[in-house]
Subunit: 258 residues, 2 copies
């Protein structure tokens, strides 16, 4: 690894949003970054179709999971970004969805910045936008909700009681990222704060991909229906939103898993 | 106008997100929809560069403002969508950012659906993603905020007191759309609920465009600095977020407007 102090300034890192999975949801700017890149460091959840477009000329490195061992540590990814850039390479750091939403972007920017490497952020379609398009709904709607919250199911310790009270009110809408493991916890808190057990919940697995799957349920049935659905792809949970034609979708799901 | 009951089913409406203004932030899917479209009905705030890409083959109709009179009414836009589709045309309804976020999408879908016309949603990069990339920050960050709220400065009657209390807590982050006119109202509510007057606020005008402008201020100085900046382009307000290297950006703005 070169010394940062002798760095000639030719390396560069583009933090690029890959969108939710459909390669057609890549931006033109992302494609240009792929073409210029020497190496692309990507998360595990990037779809094969997106990787096929990304890897036409650049080398692909999966930093979501090591070849033989456990997941990469954040510090190892930071070090790899810096190491390649200090060699004068152009790097794309490819993250699912939009890198600024639950992308652990800041840690990597700080590592790159500390070494004097130039960088830019290329936004992507976040999972919530991709998923809500798939259920034919809006995240906001006049007369229903003039705000929407994006939250993560991980790191729930910092989510204070007042927020649950606000979410529990009728008409609240939230897009919950990585919400499968915390589904029962979220359900408990919301019911404790007075949320209606009939509040619609929609789970969208593999949003925008050919294997997209939609499960329409409610707060009361969330843990049971989530368990029955056995979703192992990336899943977005909408709180307070039902798919357009919810009944039909629900019927299809029940039939599939009968 | 044809009768919906005799409609032959060949018309179609794609509700397409135009992104924040940089034409390179269009998705491949949006470009494909442009190519297939007979007519593109677009909002007033779509950038000239995006319209240049959209209008290569299709006819462009500005439904944001009538040629000689006041703004179009929502009902007129709904009627125009239906009228064109019932003639068997393929229509792109082009909206700024992502159509599912503050895009008044539902009213138009309902009009189209009521006439038996097929439709789809093609997500776009929302203004908050474009703007936050421009200030080199994340909307979420481990240890700071595990959620972010997107809200609109309009339609404030429905925005309840508990939400202000939650936003007023240290570490809260919100992306406020159309927040210029309501800046003083928002400031008052937040301070009343105990928000720190030094909470950083960042205004991003014309996000992702060549004339993008960033104003870094705080809750105390928001109305004064917003007034001094004389922003007349679309502006995103970040509550609880300062640009990376805030001091430098702030200096540049103060110099420009000295």
């Amino acid at each position: 690894m070169q010394d940062a102090r002798s760095y000639d300034g030719t390396g560069h890192v583009d933090f690029v949003g890959a969108g939710p999975g459909d390669p057609e949801l890549l931006t033109l700017k992302a494609l240009r970054a792929f073409e210029r890149a020497d190496v692309i460091l990507h998360d595990r959840l990037i779809s094969a179709e997106v990787l096929a477009m990304a890897g036409k000329t650049a080398a692909l490195v999966d930093v979501g999971k090591a070849g033989f061992g456990p997941s990469w540590k954040q510090a190892d990814i930071d070090a790899l970004l810096v190491e390649h850039a200090l060699k004068g390479q152009r790097i794309v750091r490819l993250k699912s969805g939009d890198p600024t939403l639950f992308g652990r972007l800041d840690e990597e920017i700080e590592a790159v910045e500390a070494s004097g490497i130039s960088w830019t952020i290329i936004p992507g379609i976040t999972a919530a936008s991709g998923a809500v398009a798939g259920i034919g709904q809006s995240l906001t709607r006049r007369g229903r909700n003039s705000s929407v919250r994006f939250l993560t199911g991980h790191d729930m310790k910092g989510f204070a009681d007042h927020d649950w009270a606000a979410l529990a009110r009728p008409g609240s809408v939230a897009a919950i990222y990585m919400g499968k493991k915390s589904a029962r916890f979220i359900q408990g808190r919301l019911i404790m704060h007075g949320a209606d057990r009939a509040t619609p919940i929609t789970l969208v697995e593999n949003a925008s991909r050919p294997d997209q799957r939609i499960v329409s349920t409610n707060l009361d049935q969330l843990p049971a229906d989530l368990n029955a659905a056995e979703m192992d792809g990336p899943t977005l949970t909408f709180y307070g939103l039902a798919p357009r034609q919810a009944a039909k979708t629900l019927t299809e799901f029940k039939k599939e898993h009968a």
